[in-house]
Amino acid sequence: MVTESSSAAAASLGALSTPEIEARVQVDRSSKQVIVLYWGAALFWLTFASIAGIITSIKLHNPGFLGGIEWLTFGRMRAVHWDTAIYGFGGVAASGTLLWLQARLCQVRMPYTKLLIAGGLVFNVGILLGVIGIFMGQSTGVETLEFPLWAMPFLVVPYVFIVIANFTMYFQKKTTHTYVSQWYLMAVTVWFPVLVLSAEACTNLGAVDGVAQAIANWWYGHNVVGLFATPTGIAAAYYLIPKVIGKPIHSYHLSLLGFWANAIFYNWAGTHHLTGGPLPAWTITLGVVGSMMMFIPVITIGINHHMTMVGSFHLLKTSPTLRFAVMGSMMYTFASFQGSLESLRSHQEITHFTHYTIGHVHLGMYGFFAPLMFAMIYYAMPRLMNREWSSARLIRIHFWCTLIGTAIYGGAMCYAGIRQGMMMNDPSVPFLNIVQFTVPYLQLRTLGGVILLAGTVAFLINFVRIVTPHKFTWASPTMLDTDRDWKDILKAEKGAEAAQ
């Protein structure tokens, strides 16, 4: 058991007695199978969603690509891309993170592991069925809730297991205090089931009618990011940043304020997705107010994360976990500021129906949420598997691809979106000219997507290697400033064989 940064390792290990370390090993041993299954499945879906996203993207600047095949038409690929990204990658990675973090923070062995493994398998089958349903044309037509209703039990029932496991661990916890990450994890397990069930009831089951259904749709569409992905990401950042640099979080009181402000205001922000739409003005106004109030939690959480980092930036050179975690927390601040401003009516008049929104979503999901999940996996996997990451070079490739890919994607889409919106508001510009204007930026987006996929593949190779048994592992953690690579492993393995 070693922490990543050598200085932090000395600091944190020095303070711990052997029984405490042994207790952690016990916790990790109990959760190993569950977590590896969840994170492995999440990486599969990330790769799947990335490929689906690239195909979708190519189709938008090259409509003949895989054209004329109904299963692969743009409108289906687009839904498959987002649903596998948010449920397949987001849902499964966040659930793995939630379970591992809760076990670690409660210092208890993971309960019901067989149930959680079965649940994880069923959940993934549910996503697969939902995807097949969309490909077959059985989408419900409600954005973000496209999966046919018959696939939903496969997703809802296993989540109940996760909720039960989470609360069981929390009630058995051996620690006397509750860490800030645990509030967020608790919140996710309460919010997500309520969110999914009420949204399905209000849209696909028809409990509400007409445009109220549209509000229910966007109340959900916004909250599934804000009350599921975001809190898990924040929980991961709150855990990882202090852990790696070996310093406590900047301010307890700020974290309390940030948590409740986030819980109260995020809920109300969703209607800004319908600005200018056929709704009573007050519903939109509530959405704008909720979005603007989000500055409070975003600033407090930002201060807490970034101020904790002050004085420790040099560790970004060496620690893979920290580099991804800091990228995630910084992009959280940036994308949240962007999102709040975006909700304003004057801003929405231009950007509402454009690629700008798509750019923003990717800055949030791939700039903030995904890197924090990556950071979590980079931190926990060596502890779970008791071996080190094989290649520092692959981690570096993964990081730079994630950063550059997100920047190209977000930059191209946000810029193109603003221009697109301004042209759309000028009726003298023919519509097809606007379409043609966006084409080069759509091509740039495909490039961004391919770079992101390249990073994912690098990560996948490292991940497959760390979960499969091998003859050789490094004696110390794999830091970013080493040039550890496959050829060194091959050499070392050969050496080990020769010595035998």
Binding site: P63, E143, W191
Partner: protein, 202 residues
């Protein structure tokens, strides 16, 4: 223990309050909204039936919503009306029959709230869906050629077949919407918010 319940209860309260405030209260507000009876005795909005209704299902199954909105913003907010996408802004009453709603949030393509008024011609829709380049050169819309039977050069076209402009498309000279093609076109032709609802002028 009691602290944990308080935390969980507070968390639950945040989400229940927002679903009540944003979804249930507006829904309750819309309960009194009814279709209006027009001078000719027909209702607006009318229920979807037959091909229109099935065509709506085709629209949903193809995922048209990801590029097309069905909502016109008010005069002075954006240029929806000046672009000719509608004669007035859309209001909640326009959507009484829409289950699920197809408002959309993206305009890679133009708004379709009143596409039936803008393009009443069946053959325009057929050509556009068969190959968008025929009617809208430079469009990035995919082809929906699987909604059409093709009549090849040398074959005898049925009377209702639609002739492709110019020299045809490869060796295809005429097209004929199949069942789903007819349904989708019936749905698109029905999309029309030009009936002047009084609340749209307020």
């Amino acid at each position: 223990m009691s602290k944990t319940f308080l935390l969980a209860f507070g968390i639950l309260l945040t989400i229940l309050s927002s679903v009540t405030g944003l979804v249930l209260i507006p829904n309750w507000q819309f309960q009194s909204l009814k279709p209006v009876v027009k001078a000719d005795g027909r209702r607006y909005p009318e229920a979807y039936f037959g091909d229109q209704d099935k065509g709506r299902g085709v629209y949903i199954a193809q995922g048209c919503i990801y590029c097309h909105t069905q909502q016109v913003r008010m005069k002075g907010y954006g240029a929806d009306i000046r672009r000719g996408w509608g004669t007035r802004r859309s209001v909640p009453r326009d959507y009484l029959e829409d289950r699920p709603h197809q408002l959309g949030t993206m305009r890679t393509g133009p708004d379709l709230a009143s596409i039936g008024a803008r393009q009443p011609s069946e053959s325009w829709h057929a050509l556009h869906l068969y190959n968008p380049q025929l009617t809208s050169p430079g469009s990035v819309m995919p082809r929906y050629n699987y909604f059409f039977d093709e009549v090849k050069r040398g074959q005898m076209p049925p009377a209702e077949a639609i002739r492709l402009p110019g020299n045809g498309h490869g060796d295809v000279t005429h097209i004929l919407p199949n069942e789903r093609g007819r349904q989708l076109i019936a749905y698109l032709k029905r999309l029309n918010q030009s009936f002047p609802l009084p609340e749209a002028n307020q």
